[in-house]
Amino acid sequence: MGPLRGTPTALVIGAGSTGAATAHDLALRGVAVTLVERGEMASGTTGRNHGLLHSGARYAVKDPESAAECIAERDILARIATEVLELNGGVFIAVDEAGLAYREPFREACARAGIPARELSSAEARDLEPALSDRVLAAYEVPDGVFDPLHLCLAFLATATANGASTSSYAEVEDLIVRGNAVEGAIVRDRRTGDRQRIEADVVVNATGPWAGEIAALAGVDVPVVPTAGVMVAVAGRSVDRVINRLDRPSDGDIVLPQRQTVVIGTSSWSVEDPDRIAIPPEHVSLMFERGGELVPSVRGRAPRGVFAAARPLIGRPGEASAGRELSRTFECFDHAADGIDGFVTISGGKTTTARAMAEATADVVCGKLGVTNPCRTRDVPLRSYRDYFDA
């Protein structure tokens, strides 16, 4: 079923949180959206992410721009996507001198960014979460939360399809259709049957996360995305109900949070060549147990239920630090008209907490190119149930 003649069309490649939220935003603005994803929805980086709905406190000191984005988006998601969120809050606990020293900068930075951070006594913190370390020297409560990445994506997708978007999983982009200096669509292979299909669109949006470079190369453009992997370790037993953060500069293994009947310790950082072939260094796994155990001692000595990794799409630029935490976790939308290629946009970087904002920025760019003037409505439109996605 094609769009009405004259309706602007967009093809979104990738159904992680970015692609899903972008399809949702564009559909609300009246664009005829087609979304293709080569695997199951959210089977890339988004599916494997920690599931932390950031209050932004983690970034307040080092990256205040990111922190402000987070708290704003956290509040929006809490309004539009209640079904797929656990809003139990989080705590930051200092377990050593460095943590204690971090208190002042942390408190000031959170206040500046508008992130409510309530100071707790050690006793109060351990009352809230009995599984915390004995050695809680200082604590703050913040409005963190936990989400289920797959179901959050499906909620965006369910809403998008209800508003006319056409979405397909197991649909892999084999090539982009490039005519002259414009991208006009893509050749997509249906992996269920092997059939190829030509999908034409006025604008193609590359929302493939760490694979963004591979897709962009099909149009002959470069995007400065550095796939940066991180390990997560899930152990059986729901020892905590809140997100437990280490009060200190962001580093490895400083977050422990509950996911159903497990707790997941994360994460670390190393750059990888191929997001589809990530070898997990065993020392990173031991580091998760060691560092996670400093926050929630009962994770030590438990066999892991799952050890997994995915590549974050960090944005790097020549001259900037080329790896790990130094790269900004904010997002960026690249309109490749600047590279001489029309009809092609890449959105990368960011985190799931800010997916809606990323989608808004992307949809603004796309609509600018399409001449669509409808404003963004995603701040206020509640998402449908993820189950609606599957109504056949």
Binding site: G39, E40, M41, A42, S43, T46, G47, R48, G51, E83, V84, L85, E86, L87, N88, P130, A131, D148, P149, L150, H151, Y170, R191, R192, T193, G194, D195, M232, A234, G237, R238, S239, D241, R242, P258, Q259, R260, Q261, T262, V264, D276, R277, P282, R305, G306, V307, F308, S385, Y386, R387, D388, F390, D391, A392
Partner: protein, 248 residues
């Protein structure tokens, strides 16, 4: 180190013009102690045959998408260590779930089951219970209701696949739906419990269960659908005509 070689026997559905549905055998380099079964499936896709279609998302038993049958038994491959199911020598067989429509290869469509759950209005988030069986640490009485969490049920459909009654009868509501119904009745929140009890009080509802308990045996999340179906039966039996009619 991926220094062992695993003969993986994986179910491939028909592709038009290419092959009929059958098992295909591929050899994959694996690390028996470190790899999960999902890692093995991914290696088969990435290194041997990129046409293999399979579902996965979270890799830690939270999203429920990767459920398959490993050597005939329903499991979540993401949290099944290879050493649990492979002796280092034999073939490892992986097939899609039973009793659920197959999309391609190992990927199934949870749509029909989810539609039933949607009809029940089964909420995704519950409140923490004081019951130690469900919470890892005892929750003080005044904290009951203080925390929310996602339901234990991942909607992975392993239970539906394991249920022989579901094999023979697609109209059977099935263990996942019945367990969800019991959760609504057990923790009503704003839901209309009478409506839910009416939905399951049918020939294709709780009364079609044959107490086999394969569902509870394969559930990766400790939901115990079998036990919950029995609980529903007890509740239905103790409904008087007056209380049933009231529909509260």
């Amino acid at each position: 180190m991926r220094d062992a070689r695993l003969r993986l026997r994986v179910w491939r559905t028909a592709r038009p013009g290419r092959r009929a549905a059958a098992f295909a055998e591929v050899v994959v380099a694996v690390d028996r102690s470190a790899d999960s079964v999902l890692d093995v499936i991914e290696r088969a896709w990435a290194d041997v045959d990129p046409t293999l279609v399979f579902r996965h998302a979270c890799h830690h038993a939270s999203c429920g998408t990767c459920a398959v049958r490993v050597n005939g038994r329903e499991r979540l491959p993401c949290v099944t260590n290879l050493s649990e199911v492979w002796d280092g020598r034999s073939r490892l067989t992986i097939e899609p779930l039973r009793n659920v429509p197959v999309v391609a290869d190992l990927a199934v469509d949870p749509g029909p089951q989810l539609a039933r759950l949607a009809e029940l209005r089964f909420p995704y988030v519950r409140t923490v219970e004081a019951d130690v069986r469900c919470a890892i640490r005892p929750v003080p009485d005044d904290d009951v209701g203080a925390a929310e969490r996602f339901e234990d049920c991942l909607e992975c459909l392993a239970c539906v696949s394991a249920c022989p009654v579901a094999s023979g009868s697609p109209e059977y509501l099935g263990p996942a739906v019945l367990a969800a119904a019991q959760r609504i009745v057990e923790e009503p929140r704003d839901d209309d419990v009478g409506h839910v009890l009416d939905l399951v009080d049918t020939d294709h509802g709780v009364w079609q269960c044959r107490s086999i308990l394969a569902c509870s045996a394969v559930c990766p999340s400790g939901v115990d659908p079998g036990g919950r179906i029995m609980d529903l039966r007890r509740r239905l039996l103790s409904r008087t005509p007056a209380s049933a009619g009231a529909g509260a």
